[in-house]
Amino acid sequence: MIIDDTDCVVRFENVGLRYGLGAEVVQDITFTLNPGSFHFLVGPSGAGKSTLLKLMYLALKPSRGLITLFDRDIATTPRNDLPGLRRRVGVVFQEFRLLKHLSAFDNVALPLRVARIREDEVRKHVEELLSWVGLKDHMHARPPTMSGGQQQRVAIARAVIARPRLILADEPTGNVDDAMALRLLHLFEELNKLGSTIVIATHNESLVKRLGHPILKLERGHLEIIEGLPSGIGLPAWDMA
């Protein structure tokens, strides 16, 4: 069980981001993620879902507004403290971003090795998790030799191996069949029950409906928070774009 003594895991206040001199990609984003919460992030393609996630995992700096991660204002946090914050965040990237020259085992082991965990511990945890996601026989395979679904499971395993307090996943079930999608989502739910805060960006309407967690809905750079879906009401057609 993760014991989180932070008041809020993520806090955005009037956050805006623009690339160069262009228009703002996300505007006036304000929301809070409390410890142990589970949200889906939805919206049409190009709405800014990936950008919002990038702001959360500190790959981008906002053009304006306040972002706090585990109660720390990232604008004033010294650069040397950022790796420590990032280690508390597990990310499943949309394009997986696995290291092609490393085996599945070594890819999953990365967050533990970066955190200087003992090698025997690394081996034990990585083997256990890869077995759980059905890749026991592919531990030594390199990503280019694996299918999209297998790579996605490696990416998920890498994101959750260090039991992060915040898990951000960008379309984590996009390349797997329904059975595996459900299995992976149960993994996220189990981690959520253990205390991790989860945000999953998805286009999968049935998944969102089935689990019934609160929704962060992004449209044209603006965010709307939907606290659970009233029964009988369908989701907005964000995935039609």
């Binding site: 995992y57 500190l58 790959a59 981008l60 700096k61 650069r79 040397n80 950022l82 790796p83 420590g84 990032r86 280690r87 965040v89 990310v91 971003r97 290291l99 020259h101 490393l102 070594d106 990365l110 967050p111 090795r113 970066v114 955190a115 890498r158």
Partner: protein
């Protein structure tokens, strides 16, 4: 410490193939340069030691052998009576011919030449001699006699050695500078090639030092590999020069072998170059990563 397991595929870069050879070339040049300087410095030291504390009195021979003997004895008695002179001996004909043999060779023709009368003088380095006064006194006993204290020759020799030493130090510094530049360039290329991987490592929570250590370990490994090649090539070259020197007989060539301490200093160069490569890589990566979020 050399990183055995790396998250970055640095071994596959083209840079990893040429850098050891470049380092080998640098080490080769710097080893020869350093060894040459040390040998020259030793040689100059030997010559200086041999020349200082000695004088040579030279007199032109006359037609009359008795007169030559009288003048030689007169000069010897003046020298031996001078405070600070330890020993004064006239060189005989055979000794003078032996001095000329390396340049003119043996034979009858040389012995027929009019050779100067020479007196070898050992003086105490602790007692300062008034050479001007001594020359005047000797000139009275043997008109035309001159004293050579080797001062000009020594001064020129020291100047030459110092110049060569400065040149060698300059070459060594230039080699170190070029090595640093090469490693910086290679490291920057590596950073650009592996930008994606580095970004992922950052997002996973890797410290700059974690990434920099991998680059530094890799550069150290390449530096040591190149350094070893350079060491072997330079050693072979020095051995070859030494063997060639042994084969040249007749000329009085000085001993050109390095002492064990000098060998150790020269052999440490590859390690120094490898450490320079490691530090340069680490600093380059740390400075470049500091610009990232």
């Amino acid at each position: 410490m050399i990183f055995r397991r790396t998250d970055l595929p640095l071994d596959r870069d083209a840079v990893s193939r040429f850098l050891p050879w470049l380092v080998a070339f640098m080490v080769y040049l710097s080893m020869l340069s350093l060894a040459g300087t040390m040998l020259l410095s030793d040689l100059a030291g030997h010559w200086k030691q041999g020349a200082s504390g000695s004088l040579t009195v030279q007199m032109a021979p006359t037609e009359d052998a008795k007169e030559d003997t009288r003048r030689t004895r007169a000069v010897l008695s003046i020298l031996r009576a001078t405070h600070g002179v330890i020993r004064a001996e006239a060189m005989d004909h055979v000794q003078i011919l032996a001095l000329l043999e390396p340049w003119l060779g043996p034979g009858e023709s040389v012995s027929n030449l009019p050779l100067p009368l020479l007196i070898e003088v050992k003086v105490s380095p602790k007692v300062p001699l008034n050479l001007e006064h001594l020359t005047q006194r000797i000139g009275v006993a043997a008109p035309g006699a001159t004293i050579d204290d080797h001062g000009i020759w020594l001064e020129r020799l020291v100047r030459l050695v110092r110049t060569v030493e400065a040149l060698a130090i300059g070459i060594l510094m230039l080699i170190a500078f070029v090595t640093v530049l090469t490693v910086v360039f290679a490291t920057r290329t590596g950073l650009a090639i592996h930008h994606e991987v580095i970004e992922v490592l950052h997002l996973i929570g890797a410290q700059d030092s974690y990434i920099a250590r991998q680059f530094a370990g890799h550069a150290l490994g390449l530096g040591l590999r190149g350094g070893f090649i350079g060491l072997v090539l330079a050693s072979l070259t020095m051995i070859a020069i030494s063997v060639l020197r042994e084969q040249v007989t007749g000329l009085r060539l000085p001993d050109i072998s390095l002492s064990p301490v000098q060998w150790a200093a020269v052999a440490a160069l590859p390690l120094v170059v490898a450490v320079i490569a490691m530090v340069s890589a680490r600093m380059t990566v740390t400075r470049s990563l500091a610009r990232m979020l």
